[in-house]
Symmetry: C2
Subunit: 235 residues, 2 copies
């Protein structure tokens, strides 16, 4: 079976968290909307399925369709050893993933604090205000938590210890994205989070992830995705 | 074993989705922060646990601590028959719950579009702009989706058919909260969503939920929670 990922074809966005898990799992997948005629297939699939998704990404695995990023990752994690087998570990990874997702959503709102339906240019002063607070209070609050759980009970290579999980891949992507969007702020903040920074580097160096990041399958960051670099929002 | 719920003592907030599940399950639980000395216990527990939570709510079930609302609900759903047993049903309920959570987060940002760390009064014009878009485009987009999945393959009593799940309880709370926050808008919008409205009423009439809603355990909606009524934001 070949997985079918349905996501916008020109951005990393939320789909990237799924792409990273598929790549690390080393499974075959089709990035449907990037294929000829794929966008039309995606739009049709959004409404046609038994379990329609509110928005991309969603994943087709044979007869099963799963939507919502954290939910797709849980599904893939169970199937491909990217999550612990025991119930407690499974809930813990999901808890971390949902906390990552919260910061991802807040990142999106730094450039769209008023409405997704409006252009950035139509909410520029509000974006500046929101980004300032995001950089000064939100990133540090979340990073404190990530660093803290990486340090417990003693410093670890990955969030759960020796084995990589989908939450590690997502945390790599979060750090990479924030560095792209806010290079000045992150250049200053990063130094305070040695375990988090090491985790980022460790994930990036994993053979399948490293190969993926160098490939054409990795869409570059750009100003249509979640992590956007607008100079005026960085500080 | 008595469950211990850790959440802010004076608001419904995200904790309410957990309270509703505990009430429907008919299990014993302590709403820790509402007990004498409970706030101090909650603050200590946030940092003290093996698996610390980024923020309340979190739930202690014996030795296990679980955080993040949707994650807690999945945990309770599995244990108390508030979710299907099969993997596909389990993912589907989680997908719906995460979509509900997205709208809950957007609701919060209608009164705090710039920063959680600032008062509503410090972001009033932005809140007005964001709320207008929220009412005009976001509520209808989400409600369309909820109504659509309630109608498939034929109109159902609950999201998954005959049996209530934790997502139904959450959807009730979402509708109730939006009606409280935006009575004018919802008075207009509600009429277009007969299945969603019926689901709200059906959940409210379930014996344990009805008893809970009448009890002192149900904290009234207020202007400290997620669903706040500010006349100027309603339209």
């Amino acid at each position: 079976m070949v997985y079918e990922l349905f996501y916008w074809p020109s951005i990393q966005g939320r789909g990237e968290f799924v792409r990273l898990a598929l790549e690390e799992a080393g499974v075959q997948y089709l990035d449907v909307a990037r294929e000829p005629g794929g966008m039309a297939r995606m739009i049709a699939a959004m409404d046609g399925a038994d379990h329609p998704s509110f928005a991309p990404p969603f994943l087709k695995a044979g007869d099963v369709t799963v939507g919502q990023t954290a939910n797709i990752l849980m599904f893939l994690g169970e199937r491909h050893g990217l999550a612990p087998q025991d119930a407690q570990g499974k809930y813990w990874v999901n808890q971390i993933q949902l906390t990552i997702a919260d910061l991802v959503a807040e990142t999106h709102d730094t450039h769209h604090p008023i409405a997704t339906s409006l252009y950035f240019e139509d909410q520029r002063p509000e974006a500046k205000r929101r980004s300032a607070d995001f950089i000064d209070t939100r990133i540090p609050k979340f990073f404190d938590w990530f660093e803290n759980i990486l340090a417990r009970p003693e410093p670890k290579d990955y969030l759960l210890g020796d084995a990589v999980t989908y939450a590690d891949l997502s945390l790599f992507q979060l750090v990479a994205g924030l560095r792209y969007a806010f290079p000045k702020a992150l250049g200053r903040i990063d130094a305070g989070y040695p375990l988090l920074t090491a985790l980022h580097d460790r994930v990036a160096a994993r053979p399948r992830i490293a190969a993926y990041l160098k490939s054409g399958r990795r869409i570059p960051f750009n100003e249509e995705g979640i992590f956007r670099h607008y100079k005026e929002l960085d500080r």
